[in-house]
Symmetry: C2
Subunit: 296 residues, 2 copies
């Protein structure tokens, strides 16, 4: 008999709950908007309750928006910590679901879970540690697998806020990050594109110069991640990189920026195998949550 697991992709905009044995083996799925914590967590518990009661599911993975507390020794382990999202600061996401259902859950950031999903479910990726997963959308986030496990530390990576070169003569836009102005997220998130060009990123025509600028900044981010982690795979997820031709522009920019310094065939020649879109498409997060439940 097939074994099923629970997965929650807890996003700032919507929650996706799933019961599955793996990609393409989905028993049930539901998505609902992220409202107040009590309501949203309540719906999550109600979704899983019948599967837990019938003993079809005894392990659930939670992939959460952040920042979150990942320190298992901490009193606030599994809490969302300092988000501006109303009601969610100091929300006990993990504990509420565990108590509501009486099952132990695995917990990680949404981007670490997506990295884990791509690593666990895609056989080719199992050989490609370190593996990084980048999302560029409303925010910019990075998760990763290094030496077989997801990246945890003092907190968890916040590489979306890394500092990159910003040539004010080419791009005088000051950036939108309330903390840093022109950090990566300030210059290249979806909202920064919308503010710079006065229209939503997805409405910019294919030949708009905004796409070249975006690919230039994402190039710097990927180049820095390449120099920092020496990853064997870099996955570019989220809405913005899926714009037609963008990932290929990023690859060319990384080659231009690194300028032959990293003498690896995966950078010099086969960069289309190094920097790739998610093999799981928009299921990387939720299938990552399932992988967390399995590997917990």
């Amino acid at each position: 008999m097939k074994k099923f697991y629970g997965g929650v992709e807890a996003g700032g905009t919507k929650f996706v709950c799933i019961v599955a044995a793996g990609p393409g083996e989905i028993l049930a799925q539901e998505r609902f908007p992220t409202t107040r914590p009590e309501e949203t967590i309540g719906k999550t518990i109600e979704f899983f309750r019948p599967f837990v009661e019938s003993k079809q599911v005894d392990s659930i993975g939670i992939a959460s928006f952040g920042p979150v507390d990942l320190n298992e020794k901490s009193k606030t382990y599994g809490y969302i910590t300092t988000t501006p999202k109303p009601g969610w600061a100091q929300a006990d996401l993990l504990g509420s679901i565990q108590r509501g259902l009486g099952v132990t859950c695995a917990f990680d950031t949404d981007v670490n879970a997506a990295a884990q999903g791509e690593y666990y479910w895609i056989p080719e990726n199992r050989e490609l540690d370190p593996l990084l997963y980048i999302t560029v959308g409303t925010g910019i986030g990075v998760g990763g697998i290094v030496n077989g496990k997801t990246l945890h530390g003092l907190i968890h990576p916040e590489a979306g806020h890394m500092f990159i070169p910003h040539d004010l003569k080419i791009d005088p836009f000051p950036g939108v990050c309330p903390y840093h102005g022109d950090c990566m997220e300030g210059l290249a998130s979806g909202p920064s594109m919308a503010k710079r060009w006065g229209q939503a990123a997805e409405t910019l025509p294919d030949d708009h110069p905004g796409w070249d600028l975006e690919a230039w900044y994402i190039g710097f981010m990927v180049s820095n991640l390449l120099l920092n982690f020496s990853p064997r795979r870099i996955i570019l997820g989220g809405g913005v990189p899926q714009h037609i031709g963008l990932i290929d522009k990023v690859r060319k920019n990384v080659q231009k920026q690194i300028n032959g310094y990293v003498k690896s065939p995966q950078v010099l020649e086969n960069i289309d195998r190094l920097i790739v879109p998610p093999a799981l498409g928009n299921q990387a997060g939720v299938m990552g949550a399932i992988a967390l439940a399995i590997t917990r």
Copy 2:
């Protein structure tokens, strides 16, 4: 009876060979300049031969300058690869020493070994994974321990070449990196300071503005590493950071640059426990080589 190990710190300027049981337990030590590979490797083999023949040493760790091939499945595993140093490109450092002495050696980059040394020998650091070791001197390098092991990947980290903001109005110096111009190494290595100010870094007076600029750039590098890895310890080694007051300036710049975004007491309050000089001083590399030999 105490067990002794061999350690080699193979630098671009000098080799340090040691037989030791740990810090302060050194049986023999020798240092000699890095000349042609045959001569330098020959001296290394001669130093260790009596200890190997008397069976006092059966394991040697090698901490090498780079870039090196760390892929154990590769035909050129343990080679120095593309260095401009005459004679050393494609030199089989690991294999030559192993064949010459008939013992198996552990092999890693000098900065990964230094990270391993600080992690292995300093009890407090065992709890501080991820741990990063930065060296700022003739070049800039970064090594690290993540999830219990040193950082390997496509090649190995080359974070000294990361791209950081460069405000040409404040610092019009174009940088000295032959690949990238104004990457981190191009702007902040010892040679870049010498070229920018027309005198060697170590001769700049304490109140020279060059030190503030240097601390600003090192701050960006440390901030980016903090955002990328969420490390629990960042060790600032190499000659430049040991200038009086520099590490403290770097700490203040990191707080200014991160600007409250990473809400950890180790960043907001106790940053003097997060960013530290090497506990092993200038022995981090060679004691790292000993740790490599032990943990191999």
